[in-house]
Symmetry: D2
Subunit: 414 residues, 4 copies
């Protein structure tokens, strides 16, 4: 059986176009775009100039057909494989703004997949269409402040059936994207059966699709990441008080929340990881340039001490993580999600840790400049650091990998 | 020869008082204090409430004699040894605001030492006295944006003699504390001999003591650390254009800048390192509490996976770094700065790296909360990360340690 | 309270004499001594020349009073503190043969302590006296092949009371020293109560003192360490079949085996750790000399790549481990074994891992020579590697450290 | 362009046959085979039983056509690609004896490639044929005891033209395979131009093909690896005194030694690395089985402490190294050796370090048993440790990787 991890003929020109646009147009615009956050007073609104920057880039991308690449294995769009998409995700990872320019940004891609797979025709018309068109944005509400959400069976946010409606009460936080003024729809996981009743642990939760602006929904605050509020995207802390939604907000069926969330998270994790590889490549490029252009003790930094070794170790680490990510993507493309899962867990541990190491070394090569606003490295580090718990902390993924490994040698549960 | 690294009878009650005040009064006030930054519009001014919080704490500390501990080996104050002071520094490390409350904060302590040792009577009257009283603050201007300042012979900021005056031109950045509206005095290192002339490389620079508000001095911006501007303390980027200062601004003599800077940095590095140990202790406490109070997969986090091992490794790392720091302090107390230097380099590498590791593990134990505003961990991490280059990057300190090691086996320069 | 970790005036001349004798006499003799193993055909006998080398060194040491230093806090001998002894142990760690030359070698020191503390007058006359005189040697029989002996409650070797005698059945392995033809006495831990009966888990085992040459005792084979049999010392695998010993072989009382073994292991672990520090120092010396004396790409190895950083990191790691070891020794000297225990666990993890790292880097600096017979490094590595499980594997010691840490924050058992 | 790293349809049945034979026949025979070393007195001869074991396995392999797989891209044999061969090398890596059974063992494969590519018809008839048939063995003589051979321009072993002959003088060591009584031919690198003359540094050495039994050749001793002499294969230290060989012993031309050695080492490094992956897989299997079958503190080891995390990290590390190795093999298959070189350097660093880590963790999971003769782990570790300098130490390969990386950003030599 072939295991082609290369860049296909089909995707190569797309990768080249995306790379060119990211480096020549989006990266230069990104700085101005982010510098304007809050310029009109409200960090969670856009200035006219921001909208202009972003929408003109999006229009340009769309016009070239560089749009919705993430629709893998789909009749719509390019029908790329996950491996093919992975190469694009790496390029988009170079720049914070890039994924949105190509309508490939989290959490929208995962949410769109959910609606496509589990939504009704009405859901699709109302939300999938404008999402696919880049007109609105969405958020995924899962993590809760008061429980260890890494074990999602702990989630306590409650949805109670009341006649034809569901009534929501509880708090969610780290709802990434919910700060964006364009965010119109939430995918939300809620407890629909009590913890200690007869319902099995993995059937006590359900997934809902609801509008973002319901009465009783209160955005308490943005969570910060190393002090960054990531406005206006945001990672919001939201309280629901007696929020009522119609019965058809429930996706596929009561108690099937885990089914939806598992399906949702697999590809998203691979995208995150390939963007991490892109970030690491960018950090390594910055590191090498600094090493060559800065002189101390009479020699370029590159020639001092362990710097060759550091650069080499970064290169080796990046290549290994990229290949593992491509392998996980390839496993995904084989169509057996259960078989792919431990590979996704592997890369979910490996890629962010690798990228953190590379970014950290790049910071160190820059001295104080490395942690300052004069390079993107500190912001990259902060964002990357969250990936070690977002979509499951390292420890949980390692547990999955070890279980799979040990299962080969035993019949009993491990 | 005894090598007493213990807490002396003399310092023990001081440590206990400081610990009590830090944990019971300063830590609770710290949050409000920092939340008020910029509340009146200008991040580099204090609100009345901030001033009230800080000054009442300072008054309280002063009233108890908990003041200026850093005056080691001095007739003034307690005359503590460096080892004794180290125990106090650890306690003050628990909280950002604490060192200032006891008038023991960087960069003032180092600057006061410089003025005490090298200043004229007039300098002392004008600046040392109000610094010792906690009435004004100071900054140290060394690092420059355009050269690898880790090799300080690279510094290009220029001071040219013109009659009875010196004329300054150039830029400095990472001037920590220069943002504080109370900052009235700068200690500044400048090039007073050309790079390629006859003057030896380590005699081309001189140290100056100057007022902060001279004409031609322009504060360009605060440098940020992982996005934090650390207002109103700040790490300022400053431009000097034809700034004129009188001849008596020069400390001890032309070309003796390295002599002053070396004397200044030794104790400061130990203080930084012991505060790092305090930070690590605080992070470990937060980690342990989280591990006990949070439940996943039916058990407290403490009992899951590698968490026992992680906690143990953190404890082992902290103890080793603390002991090495105390040993370096003890070497300092023996009076031979040359012999102490490699020990200071050792701990300057070991302590911040240890603290980063502990803080990082504490973040991971907290999940998303760990990088957010809901714990102090992310801010601690950001601050600690700068210590891997402030006062010399790891690589330079390792080079010093290795040189000392190899010198034992060779007569030739290594 | 003082915490003097320095070399006392009392011990300094001893350290100097030991150092001189180790480096000038024992190290040079060691190579010949070990090269003669098996020269007469039987690896578990000594050649006449070996006996001559060893006994003349011992006689010389004894004549100078350099003997039985390990008798800490004792009226006999020097009455050294554990801290003082630690400095001597470090020196003796430089050379495999050295500890025996000064009658300070494992497992004899621990066994002598057991006999002194728990033995009868007759035991002392028969075995302690010749052990103290260096006339016979001993072994400690604890670990068993068929159970995870890291949890000593698992031990299954059985001792059954039969009239006035005990009857032993079972196997022990890793009985270090049992291969030495001079080994005359065993300290042995056996199960005296069934696993599933009423007796508490930590009272099911007892400690015995027995002659080495009883009928029914069969030495099956030496265990090897990376292929080394460590002859004639050996780490023997021994089978007992219906071996009968008199009732007075039982030490202090039935079911008190854990009490004895815990008392025995504490100081022994510190000795091991300080010898590890000595080994690391020797490895670092070899590394530095090689780095200076070997040239590649036109420069001494020291100047290539990361070698400065590697040397510095080794130095920093050694100093930290030494200080932690001295601190653990100091805790021991305070007389509260329970309080000292987690410190001993800390250093038991830290020191061997540190030494392995240093030795490994020294090997790498030597290239192929580093793993060959032309340096002592590979043998040092092999021996050191066993310390990560001997006297408790890393994981068990980390568990102890974490338990202690967490206990501070909870009332419930962790 | 496709980058198929999968197991091809062509090679899959070969892999399955090799795997079956390795696990069912060779592994069980290996223990007896190695236990017989020296049974007849001379460790560098074979016993009749050893010959029987080995030759019957070889005959069986040959009969099935499982032979000379390494002949990649060749008309002879299977004409496998390097990627295809890599999968076979992994399987053969499980067992020391396996590569020879399939006539794929080092250093013969590399030497055969040299003869095929650079040898005369006579060379091929005399030596290549019996090597391909598994009738004789060979050695590669490069490393020298007195110079840092990692920089091969240092080599001093001298070949001087004297009429129609070359005269050799000097010493070689780490000549792996030269101890085998069947070793009949040496590939040898010698200095043929003086260090300080006009000849460029990389043209001062030449490669020779000579019989193993010439007058003046003296085998001084086997080098040991962690005490193992690897008899009868051996890593011999050899002295040449006025050894005369005919002119046609010189391969391709005077001063072209580096050309030959570079061509020789590329594939060999990949083979080593894939065997390392096989060793790591075997170690992980042993680790998992032990983790499940051994109980401490009332639970299988697998469920204690960090063991899940350790197992997962090993799995993640293995997968990444395997993929990187396959990528390097694939680069090799693209036919541009220069482009493939940095990939080979990458995997040469990554694979042995990965395997050492996995084997070390497997040892730790086994406690004392892990370093003893009761598992193959210690021998595996010892062998693997040499790979961090054999065919170039880590530092040299990292230097190559960094150079390649930096070259992208500069026109000047780095």
């Amino acid at each position: 059986m072939t295991m082609d991890l290369g860049m296909s003929e089909r995707v190569r020109p797309l990768v080249e176009k995306v790379r060119k646009m990211v480096r020549e147009e989006i990266l230069p615009a990104d700085e101005e775009y982010h510098s304007l956050v809050g310029a009109d007073g409200d960090r969670f609104q856009f200035t006219a100039r921001q909208t202009e920057i972003r929408e003109s880039l999006k229009a340009k991308a769309k016009a070239q057909g560089l749009w919705n690449f993430w629709l893998t294995d789909s009749e719509r769009g390019f029908g790329l494989s996950t491996v093919e998409y992975a190469y694009l995700a790496e390029e988009m990872g170079w720049c914070m703004l890039a994924p949105e320019v190509f309508n490939c940004s989290a959490p929208d891609t995962g949410n769109m997949e959910v609606i496509e797979r589990y939504g009704t025709a009405e859901h699709k018309e109302k939300w999938l269409k404008p999402l696919l068109d880049g007109e609105i944005r969405s958020a995924f509400l899962m993590t809760e402040p008061d429980v260890a959400s890494s074990d999602a069976t702990n989630l306590e946010f409650s949805a109670v059936k009341d006649g034809d409606e569901w009534v929501f009460n509880g708090e969610k936080y780290w709802s990434s994207g919910a700060g964006d003024p364009r965010c119109e729809v939430y995918v939300l996981m809620a407890r629909t059966a009590p913890r200690d009743g007869d319902v099995p642990r993995h059937s006590q939760h359900s997934m809902f699709l609801i509008p973002a602006d319901l009465p009783g929904v209160e955005i308490l605050r943005p969570m910060t990441v190393f002090g960054h509020d990531d406005a206006p995207h945001g990672h919001m802390h939201i309280r629901f008080t007696n929020v009522r939604v119609p019965a058809d907000s429930l996706l596929i069926g009561e108690g099937r929340g885990f089914e939806v969330s598992q399906g949702r998270l697999g590809p998203g994790r691979i995208h995150h990881c390939m963007r991490s590889v892109g970030q690491a490549e960018r950090a390594l490029e910055l590191m090498c340039k600094r090493a060559l252009n800065r002189t101390a003790f009479g020699r370029p930094l590159a020639k001092l001490g362990a710097n060759y070794d550091i650069i080499a170790e970064c290169r080796i680490a990046i290549e290994q993580a990229r290949l593992l990510c491509l392998k996980a993507a390839w496993m995904m493309d084989q169509g057996d999600a259960r078989a792919a899962a431990p590979w996704i867990s592997q890369i979910k541990v490996a890629a962010p840790n690798m990228a953190l190491k590379v970014i950290d070394e790049a910071m160190q090569m820059h001295g104080g400049t490395g942690v300052s606003q004069d390079t993107p490295l500190a912001a990259m580090y902060a964002g990357m650091r969250t990936l070690r718990f977002a979509d499951g902390p390292d420890a949980v993924h390692r547990m999955q990998v070890a279980r799979k490994e040990l299962k080969a040698y035993t019949n009993t549960k491990v």
